[in-house]
Amino acid sequence: MTERIPGVLGEGVSTRTRWASLVLLGLFGALMIAASPGLPRVGDANSVPANHVADYYIEKGYEQTGVPNIVTAVLADYRGYDTMGETTVIFVAGLSCLLILGTQRTLRRVEELDLDSPFGSVVLDLGCRLLVPFILLFALYVVFHGHSSPGGGFQGGTFLAAAAILIRLVRGKGESWGFSRRQALIVASIGGSLYVWIGIIPMFYGKQFLDYSGLPLAVTDIPHLRAYGTLGIELGVALTVMGVLIIIFDCLLGKEE
């Protein structure tokens, strides 16, 4: 056992607890490994999880939803309600971060590193200027091409947030390129409400909640129409994820606005 640095790595629990937990967890791991033959072989195309609803998604997915990427079709169309819940969870996590860290009036600075002023290096600045347009372009590609290639709202949203956070890290807080906490919250709210409204609008046209075939667009082809609904959903998710990640990053820096 190497020597521990007090206050950084901690003392750890007592040796007795350590051994007791090792024995118990070893038994637990052995139990899981002993139970693993009951699971389907990895790569088995005839296993139980691969044979019920998944086959239906693969074979009917394109003709019903108009989305060649079946993961996107499942995520935003078949399980749109589920994804709305997940988006809400992300949004609430961002809001909680704001409430936990953003409301304190007098803050003691914890970090030694001043992350609010720009780093000021020419190399970093030029690198950032060069990278950000491409990151943004790739993010938009991932969001809007998520129908027919791997991608979608969640991934694109993280790319968008990465671009904003890169600007914030290199150029500091005063820079008008970046997002403030307030703007990020507005973006996240717009994304979430876009999702919900795309769900609600079909109800005015006599369809179910989140049934995109009821959207009032000038498209007669039902799968095509559903694909547009999916695109709107993905855009909403991307905005929410982007806003929330920026909020979390901004809160973790730990300075009152």
Partner: protein, 129 residues
């Protein structure tokens, strides 16, 4: 248990080891930050488990290919991997990022209040208050 059986289930062994590692980290470390990181390792174990259930031998990604005329080709179910666990884990990953951010925010708040993330120090100060 034949050697063939073991080969087909190696990924489940990896999942079991990751899960046990995460649990051990949560029990054996007294630093709250390390506990959060250990919890993330457990989340990775669950994600790997779902993704291994989705795999099919020799199958391609669940994105339907185009034919010569740029029309989408339809495929048979065994030709592409199971899309459902992928869709579920896609959201799980982003949710885990957001919840980790929330956990870190709580830790910062705790650190500001007690001046430490060590369980023993925090307990001592809580008793004093």
């Amino acid at each position: 248990m034949t050697i063939n059986m073991v080969y087909g289930h190696l990924e489940y062994y990896l999942v079991a080891i990751l899960l046990v590692m995460g649990l051990y980290g949560m029990i054996a470390s007294t630093n709250l930050m390390r506990k959060v990181m250990a919890m993330n390792i457990m989340q990775v174990a669950v994600i790997v488990f779902f993704i291994s259930l989705a795999s099919k031998q020799g199958a391609m990604a669940p994105v339907l290919p185009l034919d010569e005329n740029h029309h989408v080709k339809s495929v048979l179910a065994h030709e592409v991997v199971n899309p459902l666990p992928h869709a579920l884990m896609l959201t799980a990953i982003v949710v885990s990022v957001a919840t980790t951010g929330l956990a870190l925010a709580l830790l910062i708040r705790i650190n500001r209040h007690f001046g430490s993330l060590e369980e023993s120090v925090i307990l001592e100060k809580m008793v004093k208050e």
